[in-house]
Symmetry: C2
Subunit: 742 residues, 2 copies
């Protein structure tokens, strides 16, 4: 087969249109490189790193530049993360205040100043209940608030919907998504988030804050030349911003750095970590200064459990871990199903406009939430009570919402039923809410569901413990609520270490670290058995290109199976600028491999040429230079002939090469770890194919889908993920392939 | 230059000894690949990963195997980390108990049972003071205890000396070091550590516990076939073990995972993180069960600061951060100087035997420590008091050692002087102790020094605050002690996020996270300005091969500058088994690049052949098979001739290739991130050179040393690091190069 293909390629090439120098290798009908993701462009870390080196060489590294300039460049590296931290924390404080205000407007208003919450208004506060219409007003105000958020998202910035984490992950994975990080999105998200969370929708502000931080990062980096032109540097700053976002969302600076490392970022060298660390600290300090919780502490759900749980209690934690994993998997399954059902072009979307759908969800949420005392108020207030201990006598003890009987927990069946109902309600609500057309995160609803479930398990454990004569164990149902919350969140997002750190910074529960660790691990395993994490599923559903960590089993496929054989190549033979320009203008590709000589069947790879750069250069040259015309000959190899235009500077000779036997797993590792855009495939020193990151993702998806066939996962979520929908307008089998048929 | 070299290589090759098929490319006198690290062997993650895949393919992945077997293989993955956690925690508890016992023996003894500490002995305890010789007994017992530790290390397992972290880092970086992780080292370290720490030497048990955990990991992996034969899998387990070690050392499971990630491991994919997480949890639970602190909590230095510090206090924290960085740099400088002065072959070592040196250090330590009340007792007791608040009225409040005046801190000058003296003493002691011939870590002495300094700064801040009329700030000197401890540790080790998590798990000071972060970052920057971290300097001093994170500025060098041009290659031309065997037996290299045909000047790279495998196969074949003799022809390419022996299975055709223009930084990233052993360098599809990981490290070191020349860092520590000493016996310019001269 080896020699056969060799010949076939050769003969084919020799015959095809000799007047066009961009020669096509192999005749297969489909040009794989132009995959369905042709509208996204890929970032090459290696090229950008080189660019940055040359940029800084003339400024900060050069000994000739003034020390002020060098100092300024070094300072910028720290200034940007600090600014991101400060701005994100300020936005976070603003959102927190607006959520409180809108949340309280559902119950009443302050006639002296409509911008005051119940707490600050004091005696003048008028409750809707006093006017006899609490339920109606609750539902009405909620729907009104959500309407504002939905209209903003629909007409100002559609990218501001949802949590934004799948988009941020994709961008950090090395692709560009237009508009996701624009200033318009930023403003819409900040304003809209207050409305959607304050309206009592089953959503949180945590994921969106990561998105907000990333928007700030993008907007700020547009101001600094070193970042503006360098996509890799911008991604470094985005990783930093993600840490600041979580730092603000949970008051958890450490958790932020780890979340950015574990869940969001693809590249996270130690230099980025130090910057992320810095941004998270600045964000935490700024948030502390704004003091949105009013307690003077960053800890959102301060608890006071000072003794580690007994060993017997681990039974309860393990059960919670298993439940958390199951709940997470069920959530992922149904949420993806719902989201798939409301994509553009579906039966539902054709009939129901997005804004109306959001209103429906809000109506349903408000109507079902009002009667239950735990779902009626904002989720965070309920979570605070659920986490807390009844025996705590400190002045900072929150309103325990009927969970306690004096200093003892209430254990009656009615309470358990009410809590379970609350958890179930929120679960159903969040299944519909996540992915709807408003800014909405899912951390808080997950914590809520888990906390309700955990508290119930805790009540059961408390009762069982009370029945054991002589038991010295003190069961705190609040501890179970915390573990339950961590489990459900772990089951939905499949994060481990960052979740434990976040939980522990949220609750100050150092003694709870080991239970958190156990529950998160178990939830992750149980969940992974059924589905992938919610963000990964959302990425697939929305059709974003994303390269996951390589699979253990990707050894039995090789580079040959995923490479594009049908290549247009340039060669080093004599040609004129005019011919070259024509080739460049006609192509649909963003670049060409350069080989020694297509005519002499010598496909020794010389390098790779990026189209836009070269086209720009040639057009400028022809216009401005008097010595160069369309008839001038060009040369791609260093000793340019006397009258030839030397284009060797445009040849990237260091492009990565592999042989076609290279296992898929290693190709995968190269793309992921080295941050490269394309790999050339050689055989016996001759170019035989090319793999771009996009076509690679495409093929890996195909291979995985083929392998998954028949297994549980496919039955569970595979059906919705079969054909990702492109939200960018064109259908995947649309324009691009037809332009490529020979 | 291009064409010139091309020709030179070609003509040279055609002439050299035609009877030996292993042809040498280029005639340069020095074979760079055989660098000074020829005694270490390199691990290739990619080859091991493939091996593991094929191994599991026949067991756990195969559908035919019994489910029991498949289950057992999956179970092993979890069993090993769990066992490592349990065993390490048990060792940690044992060491803690022995340290307490030995520590109290310096002050007295229990006549009823010599194995009881003062606390457990109760009234029967006899203090040496009662017999009139407390100082003499203190010094005598200390020296006696240290003597045991030193003799154990000297005569049983020399690898058990020091903290072991530089060795573990090197091993995880992909090299093998003999004996470092053996069972003998393990036992010596466990027993010796109790003696050296209990004797009051200025050292801690934290670093060595990481080493102990790694020894367990190595010993256990020898029992499981999947790990025994696979160096990459073993390294995965070692990363896991490092997390368990720190988890036990500080009672900090999260800090352990992060320390393993940030400081120790080179490869840390998310799969390893989950396992590390699991091992750390199991270790923490087991330690909790042993309850060595007697408090029922893992937190070693439990404090009770519940309010975040005021903004003005950050001035103090920043000062502490700067001091921490400076102290760290000074420590690294002098410690490396001391260690360099006592290496094998130096003036000092030729005159003073190692055991005697340790005794001298111990004598000096004991004599200077006794008079000061803070250095007289074990470091951890002093640290506990220094961290604690005077106003704390809880029953768990430790003996405050004269730091308080009732509920208020004492602020007199005598106390400050005494604390500063204690800190200085410990600093000088640890400079001599770290690297001496006993098991000794440096975390606790660093914490001690930093805590003393921090407490003094805190006392100053307290006095200043008292002088400001109307100040509402409450200054807790204990908070400064904590920040100071983190700063000095950060300045010495240059870790950031893991240190913050460890400090916070050590002290339960959630409100202190932001101050810790600031102090650690500042300490790292100040320290980095002067020297590298202690572990990196120790690695260089001891002459271990280690590949650091790539430098920003490695763009102006390329693969060409570091490649070995003088290669022995095999080619695909006709040869017999006898000829091949002779070549294999004669070579000093561990493998050969295989090219198309050396005679026809066709150096197209076919692949790479590992010597040992092939030699083994051929020798077996000649002995056992009747069809194969020394005269049989061999073929390296798939369609083997009718009578030729097919050796294509021994050719690794997927070896990585780069062109010679590839920037050094990218070559560096490939070695580090892909875990590979060698890279072939091509030019126009022809092999021109080879880079092995070892030769690469060698060259990077050389280049760095050349560049650093004249800068501050070189003046500061460079002089000691100029010529790393090989502790493995041979001198760097010894046997190897002479065997290679043509």
């Amino acid at each position: 087969m080896d020699g056969e293909q060799h010949q076939r390629l050769g003969s084919k090439r020799a015959k095809t249109m000799p007047e066009i120098k961009a020669t096509r290798l192999s005749g297969s009908a489909r040009k794989k490189s132009l995959s369905k993701w042709s509208s996204y462009s890929t970032v090459s870390w290696r090229i950008d790193a080189k660019k940055d080196y040359h940029y800084t060489l003339h400024t900060s590294l050069s000994q000739e530049s003034h020390w002020c300039l060098r100092g300024w460049y070094e300072f910028q590296r720290w200034l940007l993360p600090a600014l991101i931290g400060i701005l994100t924390a300020t936005c976070g404080a603003f959102i927190e205040r607006s959520v409180e205000l809108y949340g309280s407007l559902r119950f009443g208003y302050c006639p002296t100043n409509y911008l005051l919450t119940e707490e600050k208004c004091g005696g003048a506060w008028i409750r809707h209940a006093e006017q006899g219409q609490p339920y109606t007003m609750y539902v009405g105000v909620s729907c009104g608030l959500v309407l504002v958020a939905a209209l903003l998202v629909r007409f100002v910035a559609p990218c501001a919907r949802g949590s934004g984490i799948p988009e941020v992950k994709t961008i950090l994975g090395g692709f560009t998504l237009d508009g996701v990080l624009s200033f318009k999105t930023l403003v819409t998200k900040i304003v809209g988030l207050g409305f959607s969370v304050g309206a009592g929708l089953s959503c949180g502000k945590e994921g969106p804050l990561v998105h907000i931080a990333c928007c700030w990062s993008n907007c700020l980096s547009a101001l600094a030349p070193r970042w503006r032109t360098n996509e890799a540097k911008r991604r470094e700053l985005l990783s930093t911003a993600a840490a600041a976002g979580v730092s603000v969302a949970f008051g958890a600076p450490l958790g932020g750095v780890l979340f950015s490392f574990e869940e969001v970022s693809t590249m996270f060298p130690s230099r980025t970590m130090v910057l992320a660390f810095f941004a998270a600290s600045v964000a935490a300090l700024t948030l502390d200064w704004w003091n949105p919780t009013g307690t003077g502490k960053l800890t959102l759900f301060q608890t006071a459990y000072n003794t580690p749980p007994a060993y017997a209690e681990y039974i309860g934690f393990i059960i919670l871990g298993i439940f958390g994993g199951l709940i997470g998997a069920v959530f992922v399954h149904y949420n993806i199903m719902v989201c798939a059902g409301r994509r553009k072009g579906t039966w539902w979307r054709n009939r129901v406009p997005e804004v109306f759908e959001v209103l429906l969800i809000c109506f349903f949420t408000a109507v079902t939430s009002f009667p239950n005392r735990y779902t009626c108020v904002l989720s965070s207030a309920t979570i605070r009570s659920l986490f807390h201990a009844c025996y705590d006598a400190s002045p900072s003890k929150p309103n325990m919402m009927g969970l306690c009987d004096g200093m003892e927990p209430r254990t009656d069946l009615a309470l358990s039923a009410s809590l379970l109902l609350a958890g179930l309600l929120r679960f159903v609500q969040m299944t519909f809410t996540f992915g709807a057309g408003v800014p909405a995160g899912l951390f808080v609803p997950c914590l809520f569901t888990g906390a309700c479930l955990g508290r119930v398990v805790g009540l059961v454990a408390h009762s069982v413990n009370a029945m054991i004569p002589g038991s010295t164990i003190v069961v705190n149902p609040g501890v179970y609520a915390m573990v339950g919350a961590a489990s459900v969140l772990g089951g939905v997002c499949r994060v481990t270490i960052s979740l434990v750190v976040i939980m522990f910074e949220l609750t100050d529960g150092l003694q709870m670290v080991v239970p958190f660790m156990c529950a998160c691990l178990i939830a992750k395993f149980v969940g992974d058995y059924f589905t992938a994490g919610i963000y990964d599923c959302a990425i697939r559903l929305r059709g974003y290109p994303y390269l996951h960590e390589p699979d253990e089993c990707a050894f039995h496929k090789s580079a040959e199976d995923v490479m594009d054989e049908d290549l247009e190549v340039l060669d080093c033979e004599e040609q004129t600028i005019g011919e070259l320009l024509q080739t460049l203008r006609e192509t649909v590709f963003s670049g060409f491999p350069l080989v020694r000589s297509a005519r002499l069947r010598n496909r020794t790879l010389i390098g790779y040429i990026h189209k836009n750069q070269l086209l720009q250069h040639l057009e400028d040259k022809v216009k401005t230079s008097q010595l160069v015309s369309e008839g001038t000959r060009v040369s791609f190899r260093p000793p340019a002939g006397s009258h030839a235009e030397d284009l060797s500077g445009f040849v990237d000779s260091t492009v990565y090469r592999v042989v076609k036997e290279m296992p898929l797993k290693e190709v995968h590792e190269m793309f992921r770890k080295l941050g490269i855009k394309l790999i050339m495939v050689e055989e016996d020193g001759q170019l035989v194919g090319m793999i771009t990151k996009k076509s690679f993702i495409d093929h890996v998806d195909e291979i995985e889908r083929a392998e998954v066939e028949g297994t549980l996962e496919r039955d569970f979520t595979g059906t919705f993920l079969q054909e990702p929908l492109l939200e960018k307008g064109e259908s995947p089998s649309g324009k691009s392939p037809s332009r490529m048929s020979p």
